[in-house]
Every structure is written in structure tokens, then in C-alpha cells.
């Protein structure tokens, strides 16, 4: 039961199961309560595992569970890269 599920944030299966039974029974609620899926891998490792745990604990089918929104960037990227892009972007030229 003390298996680490979210490696980025060190969250165990036991903690996730307890949270689900407290009422944090969606992935988004678990994300906010336990920080699962908010580390550098952004849930790539833990999301499928947590979906399985949620299905098991809530009795819902995996397809009935909602997934979090895919958000950019697809992997961590330095702020400087975006800033450089902004310098050459004509669409931003209208800015004061």
C-alpha cells in the first residue's frame, strides 16, 4: 500500500486512496489536494496509475473518469526560449 505512485511529488497509493475516500474523487481534485501530476513530468507517469486506482475505489469504469486538460508545453522548456521567440514575433509588434 505504500507504493509510490507520483514519483515527482512522492505520493503513495495509500495517501491517494485515503484522499479519494475523503471526497477528492476526481483527478483534478487529487491534483489540487496532493499535488499529484503537477511535477516536472506533469502526470505522464502517475495519471494512468491514478485512473486505475480511482476506477477501483469509486467503482466507476475508467472511461467514465475525466482526464485533466492537456496543457503546453509538452515538456519543460526554458523561459528564455519563449522570450527569444517573442523578440522576433511580428504579431507582438503592435504592443507598446
Amino acid at each position: 500500500m505504500s507504493r509510490i505512485i507520483c514519483r515527482c511529488e512522492d505520493v503513495t497509493e495509500e495517501e491517494i486512496v485515503e484522499a479519494i475516500h475523503m471526497g477528492f474523487d476526481t483527478l483534478e481534485a487529487l491534483k489540487r489536494h496532493l499535488r499529484v501530476g503537477t511535477g516536472p513530468c506533469q502526470g505522464r507517469t502517475c495519471t494512468p496509475l491514478i485512473m486505475g486506482i480511482l476506477a477501483r475505489e469509486t467503482g466507476k469504469k475508467p472511461e467514465e473518469l475525466s482526464l485533466p486538460t492537456h496543457r503546453p508545453p509538452t515538456r519543460p522548456l526554458p523561459i528564455g526560449a519563449f522570450a527569444e521567440f517573442a523578440e522576433g514575433d511580428p504579431a507582438l509588434e503592435e504592443e507598446p
Binding site: V17, E18, H21, M22, G23, F24, D25, T26, E28, A29, R32, H33, T38, G39, P40, Q42, E57, T69, R71, P72, P73, P76, L77, P78, I79, G80, A81, F82, A83, F85, A86, E87, D89, A91, L92, E95
Partner: protein, 408 residues
């Protein structure tokens, strides 16, 4: 697993307390039905419970903090331009300072200060007036030079900075945990909180809402509170009530944890930017877009991250080497004068508004929760008058006191 312990609802222990109730446990009627499970709704539930009123239901259609509360930067600022906002914020900070102990819940509250950078003559002049007003009301804010700003944040690039203001007792906290802390504390006192149930409409009887029609059946109520954030106007319409609030997308990003170097939240009104470093080390912040139209759009744009990255690196150059892990968005519930809408409406006698925060609901949440609880229990507020924040102020469209210090 813990289902046998979770059934003992009346005396839940801290470890196994169930935060939300199940549909089967819903009663037919409550004294107060609060629509919206963000910091407003849960804060109000707690304030009411503290006053002995626990025949209350918080109705949340998704999960707690699904709206703006769970998408915001968590900033808590007292440096406002109007007496009203300053008082609401100062009162809230007094509450934030004792909240973790009171709720028995970590809220990651940090009073690292807010450093507001002035880049043009207009905001430089205005900030002197603002600081004078803030000091008069007892706030420890100061007008400082770019050099003093650099002493507070050595990594700051002060190029273009004319002056700045700083207030040490400003800060930030974890908005999810503040809301959960409120909800759990209220729940332990007997309040009902349910998620995954939506308010679909109302049954009106003369000048009163008789019941709320929900996706789990009809629930009678003596008082209904509209704490639905960006969906407040839409909800009010279902009760035949007019609200001028409009939703606007605001984008935000977070980096991976970085070694701690930034104590204050840095903001600039002219650039519309804010960012801070959380307790965990991530830099979280956003920049406003004057071209953003009103909508319920919560998608992310490339334009945002370009503009944000460009301005962040101008202000703190070392950030160019820090990695962004995620950008997301939320909705500001905006009113014509950027001030909240609190209290009764002219159309009905039992439909109280607690919305329109225009981007600063989290930071004034504790104070507003207390005020609305007082209104419900005593029929009037005790801590501070809120008449000037009634929706009726828009009938005459008096915009003489416009809160100018909105950012993001």
C-alpha cells in the same frame, strides 16, 4: 477500505473525516444553500459554522476549487487604491495570519511582501497617493526608490523602473488548501458539502427563492448564496436577477521548482504582470491581455507565454534559464468597476450575492466570508458596511470610485 470509518459522519476523526457528503445524505431543505465550492463558498460555510449555523449546504457542480480559486496565483495584497479594498484586504490578512492554526490545516501562507514596480510617470504619481491612503488606514506600505527595490530583490533588473512600493505583510498562500481547510473545518461542525451536483434553476415563490433545482433533486432553502464566480451572472439569470458581471480569460504559468531566491510577489500595473515564487520553489505568474474579449475560454495560448516570458526576463533576467512546466487559464468574474458585488438584490429577498471579485477574490475571501455570514445571521454586517458594494450601484452607473489597482 476506510468505508466503515467514513460512515461515522456525525463524529468524524481528523484522519478519516469525509469532506463531502453523498447524494443519499442530502436533506430536502437547508437554512442556507451556497452555490459554488471555491474560497467564497467554503469560506462562508466556515464563517457560518463558527457562528453556530450549520444547517448549510455548499453545492459544487465539479470539485472544490474547480473555478478561479483553483487556478489563481494565490497572491494576497493589501496595497489597493480604494479605502474599501484596502480594508477588505487588511481584514483578510489578519485572518490569514491565524488561519492555519485555527483550521488545523497547512495553507502555505508566506508574508514575503509585494514589490510593485512603477514604469511611468502616471503610476509613479498615483502610487504616492495610494501609499498615503494605505498608511492612513494603518498599512505598513512604503514608497521606495529603484535602488531600495534592488536591495529587497538583488536579482531585479531596475532598468526603466522610476520608483516602487513595498509592503512586507502582503504575501501568498495555497488557494486549494485554504479552501479545503475551510471546507473540512465546516464539515466537522456538521455543514454539508457536496460535489458533482449542479444548480440547474430555481423555484421562485413571489419575492423568494423557494428551492434550488439541482441535478440531484429539488432542495428547499431559506437563503440562497450566489458564490458561482465567473458563472454568477448566468446563475442569477436563472432566478430572474440581473448582474453586470462578465467572464474574462486570464492565463498563468508555473515553472519547475527552483532554489528559493524571491521573497516578494513582483507586480507592475502598467505591464499587467505579476509573479512570485511559491514555498515549493515554482515561479507562478501571469500577464493580462488588454485585447482579451469576454468569454468562457480557458484554453492556453502561445501569445500569452511569449509575452509573459519576454516581460519576466526583462524584470528578473536569471529566469531565462528556468523551465516552464505548465500554463493554464482561469476566468476573472469582472464587474464594470472591478469591485465585488455583495449583498441582496432588488428582485428577490433571499438571494445574496458574493461574486464579481474581478481577479482578487482569494485575497479578500476571509473578510468577505465573515461579512456575508454576519449579513445572513444578523440581517446586517457588523465588521464593515457593504452597502456601497450592492449591485444597485450600477443602476445609476456611478463609476466615480473605480478600483484602478487590478493586475494580471
Amino acid at each position: 477500505m476506510s468505508s466503515d470509518k467514513a460512515n461515522k459522519m456525525d463524529e468524524p476523526t481528523h484522519k478519516t473525516a469525509r469532506l463531502t457528503i453523498r447524494k443519499e445524505e442530502l436533506r430536502d431543505r437547508y437554512r442556507v444553500v451556497i452555490i459554488g465550492g471555491g474560497v467564497s463558498g467554503c469560506g462562508l460555510a466556515y464563517a457560518l459554522a463558527k457562528m453556530g449555523v450549520t444547517d448549510v449546504l455548499v453545492l459544487e457542480r465539479k470539485y472544490l476549487t474547480a473555478g478561479a480559486t483553483g487556478r489563481c496565483g494565490g497572491g494576497i495584497r493589501q496595497q489597493w487604491a480604494t479605502e474599501e479594498n484596502i480594508r477588505l484586504a487588511m481584514g483578510s490578512v489578519k485572518r490569514f495570519e491565524v488561519l492555519a492554526d485555527e483550521l488545523g490545516y497547512d495553507i502555505e501562507y508566506v508574508q514575503g511582501g509585494y514589490l510593485i514596480l512603477n514604469y511611468d510617470e502616471k503610476e509613479d504619481k498615483e502610487s504616492k497617493k495610494k501609499v498615503a491612503l494605505q498608511n492612513r488606514l494603518g498599512l505598513d506600505s512604503r514608497y521606495i526608490s529603484p535602488e531600495e527595490a534592488k536591495e529587497i530583490v538583488p536579482e531585479l533588473n531596475t532598468e526603466g523602473v522610476i520608483s516602487a512600493t513595498f509592503c512586507q505583510t502582503d504575501g501568498h498562500a495555497n488557494p486549494f488548501w485554504v479552501t479545503e481547510g475551510y471546507a473540512l473545518a465546516a464539515r466537522r461542525m456538521g455543514t454539508h458539502i457536496i460535489t458533482g451536483v449542479e444548480a440547474l434553476g430555481f423555484k421562485i415563490d413571489g419575492r423568494r427563492i423557494a428551492s434550488v433545482k439541482t441535478s440531484a433533486g429539488e432542495i428547499g432553502a431559506e437563503v440562497v448564496v450566489n458564490a458561482a464566480g465567473a458563472w454568477s451572472a448566468e446563475l442569477a439569470r436563472k432566478a430572474g436577477v440581473w448582474l453586470p458581471n462578465k467572464p474574462y480569460r486570464h492565463e498563468i504559468l508555473a515553472t519547475e521548482p527552483y532554489k528559493h531566491f524571491l521573497d516578494p510577489m513582483i507586480i507592475s500595473f502598467s505591464k499587467g504582470i505579476y509573479f512570485s515564487q511559491t514555498k515549493r520553489g515554482e515561479i507562478v505568474g501571469g500577464i493580462g491581455d488588454p485585447h482579451e474579449p469576454s468569454s468562457y475560454n480557458m484554453k492556453s495560448s502561445f501569445r500569452f507565454v511569449e509575452r509573459m516570458a519576454r516581460e519576466m526576463t526583462k524584470i528578473v533576467p536569471l529566469l531565462k534559464n528556468v523551465n516552464i512546466v505548465r500554463q493554464w487559464a482561469g476566468l476573472y468574474d469582472v464587474t464594470p468597476d472591478a469591485r465585488p458585488i455583495l449583498g441582496h438584490v432588488p428582485e428577490l429577498d433571499n438571494f445574496i450575492q458574493m461574486n464579481g471579485y474581478s481577479g482578487h477574490g482569494f485575497m479578500i475571501g476571509p473578510m468577505v466570508s465573515r461579512l456575508i455570514a454576519e449579513l445572513i445571521v444578523y440581517g446586517e454586517t457588523k465588521t464593515m458596511p457593504i452597502d456601497t458594494l450592492s449591485v444597485t450601484r450600477f443602476k445609476d452607473m456611478d463609476l466615480s470610485e473605480v478600483e484602478s489597482s487590478v493586475v494580471g
